[in-house]
Point group: C2
Chain length 409, copies 2
């Protein structure tokens, strides 16, 4: 008898009929002889509505405000947990709901983006041992002083994986509105192929690059605690994609997948005096304004006296970044600043890069053949990202997908 954690996202529990559909999936897993704990998100749209209320009242620039944000926003998952437990009960499946504080799932004090400090699984185990399905409100826990804390958007994934780790579950199934992880976005590339397996490291790169399948922290947690995670569809009854260790991938291709993101904007400062500490002088004001910088490149002119600095920030932060840098101009002494919102980041990802040389070259050649200009390049051990003009996004992704033969299994 296996113990399985199932997680259902907001679209999967979006209305009463879908909640009934989820109850069927839980029942089916139990009828197959398994013990089941379920983690649920808020019904689609509910969290946005609650966040809207909060933002209408507060700029959320204090700890106190974030505490109340959590008090409000966590209610969406609480509602779904009760509704799913009710649906199960009516199908003859004994069940009970748990809000985060009722488990308790313990967190630190960082309201709005809390990290899990630990899960006391006693009560959930008691429910499972009593033959019940445990239905857990995702996304939330309780601080040491008894306030509700939420785990950040997408936090229900992390709740599910953490619960699977605490229960030593045999598997954690993440049900979502796609039926697995694809070589790239199937809406962009017709030949995009569902992967049977992907390594946690690749998933991490894809998740942080804009393939919105799993919350980054849930993947880290799966990796650290050896939780077997499967991403699968709520709507189709097909196998999904398993997150695995690198050694479980027998035949490695050069590249596993291609991600793209239109969320970034480029900023270039030209003619910055090239002296020690210039990078710190530029990025200090941005860090002070709580702006994350992603890609960074620096060019030195031939004589080596001035430098051009290009980097990317989230589009939503661009205005504030520009303001901060204008303010710092007397110190930075750059010649010009120019910014561009119409850019896209294209990334090829794969642990195969470690053993296959020439991936970067293949990528640059492919883009060059299509006359796509590369603005910025950044790389990690298993990823190469380039910034290009946004209008070439589809063309670039399709060309790279074909060049790396990702449509072939």
């Amino acid at each position: 008898m296996a113990l399985i954690v199932q997680k259902f996202g907001g679209t999967s529990v979006g209305d009463i009929e879908r909640i009934k559909n989820v109850a069927c999936k839980v029942k089916k897993e139990r009828d197959a002889g398994n013990r089941v704990a379920v983690v649920v998100s808020a019904m689609a749209g509910v969290t946005n509505q609650l966040v809207g209320y909060v933002e209408a009242l507060s700029p959320l620039n204090s700890d106190e405000a974030w505490r109340e944000y959590d008090q409000v926003v966590s209610s969406g998952e609480q509602v779904t947990s009760g509704l799913l437990a009710l649906a199960l009960h009516e199908m003859g499946v004994p069940s009970r709901s748990f809000a985060g504080g009722q488990i308790p799932l313990k967190t630190n004090h960082v309201h709005g983006k809390a990290r899990i400090a630990g899960i006391d699984a006693t009560e959930i185990k008691k429910a499972l041992d009593g033959g019940m399905a445990a239905v857990v409100a995702g996304f939330q826990g309780t601080t040491p002083d008894g306030r509700i804390a939420t785990l950040g958007r997408g936090g229900s994934d992390t709740s599910a994986v953490a619960l699977a780790a605490a229960l030593k579950a045999d598997r954690c199934d993440i049900y979502t509105d796609v039926d697995g992880v694809y070589t790239t976005d199937p809406r962009l590339v017709e030949g995009a192929r569902k992967l049977d397996k992907i390594t946690c490291e690749e998933m991490l790169e894809l998740a942080s690059l804009g393939a919105k399948v799993l919350q980054t922290r849930s993947v880290e947690m799966a990796m650290n605690h050896g939780v077997v995670v499967q991403v699968r569809s709520s709507f189709a009854d097909t196998p999904g994609t398993y997150l695995v260790n690198e050694e479980d991938i027998v035949e490695q291709k050069k590249i596993t997948g291609i991600a793209y993101s239109r969320d970034e904007a480029r900023v270039t400062l030209t003619g910055v005096p090239d002296k020690p500490g210039v990078a710190a002088a530029i990025f200090g004001p941005l860090a002070d304004a709580n702006i994350n910088v992603d890609m960074i490149v620096q060019n030195v002119d031939e004589i080596g006296r001035v430098t051009d600095m290009t980097f990317t920030v989230n589009k939503t932060d661009l205005e504030r970044a520009v303001a901060a840098l204008q303010k710092a101009r007397p110190v930075l002494q750059y010649k010009e600043m120019n910014a561009d919102k119409n850019v896209a980041k294209i990334s090829v990802v794969g642990v195969g890069m470690r053993s296959h040389a020439g991936v970067a070259l293949d990528m640059f050649k492919t883009l060059a053949e299509k006359n796509i200009n590369i603005l910025v390049i950044s790389t990690s051990e298993i990823k190469i990202s380039v910034l290009i003009a946004e209008e070439y996004t589809e063309l670039a992704v399709r060309a790279l997908h074909a060049a790396f033969e990702l449509e072939k299994a």
Copy 2:
């Protein structure tokens, strides 16, 4: 420095602007030098929506189902508590929210209609002592085994009065969409007058008779714990109506107010054999079906062998009542059953009845003058109720209001 509990109902917190308006009222009370704890209902419409979800999933015929009902439905007040605390915070009023379980307000196990077992006011006192406004989610508490329990519709009134008792508050202000308790429904009678004071006993009779101002249990609790309660308007800045003890009413009129209810239906069984135990035989099946019976009259025929039994039930229970009695006909051996939904109950209420004779006579005369036929009569120490045809409701209330000179202060 007084300690005041303020309670705001669903209409008063119906949207973000109204929540800000409530925050102003809280701030004003604090600016006057008082310490304030606030109890809030769910935003208007939210509870109905949540109940709708629940009822779409379950007939709510088990304890387990009611537990999940509470898990779902309690979230509405939790949301408002967070939003109001946020609004206060942004106005510079230090504040924090408390869900029922965070206080904790302890209840028994009767989910959906739980009774308060006790309030541990330590944390709320700590917040008040620290200069904060405490914002409490009404309508809810926590059972001994840590499940959320709700107090029944209108339960936030009871939360507020119980909190006022636990904190030994100087006053409990119940803010609502009317500006006090009236001699009768002002929508029906132009001359209806707001009462400055009303006794708890009268308020109890009015509340249970359909004047939907306060939850019955909150009035009982105010009476038992000597809590000073004021019913007042969220929207107008005028004094409301105080609930007082009988000795605080100096000049007693015969009648304090007139209530009406269109929620009841009449059932008459004719020709029931008049033998001992017949009443039990009739009302047993109704009790088994969980149907409350309100007014009851029994007439015996001249010879004393058969009897006619008339009683009222809630309109929503009528169909089930008729079915239960049809099933019991072989035992009851009544001749005919007839039922009527088109009835209204009109009640005159006043502690003055104890010292003024002839109130019943005045009432019956007034109705007779308008040719209104009385179907059923029932009385208590401070109340006389009559059942009449529904179409005469307005006429009866207006005639009685004039006859007892209630428009005069």
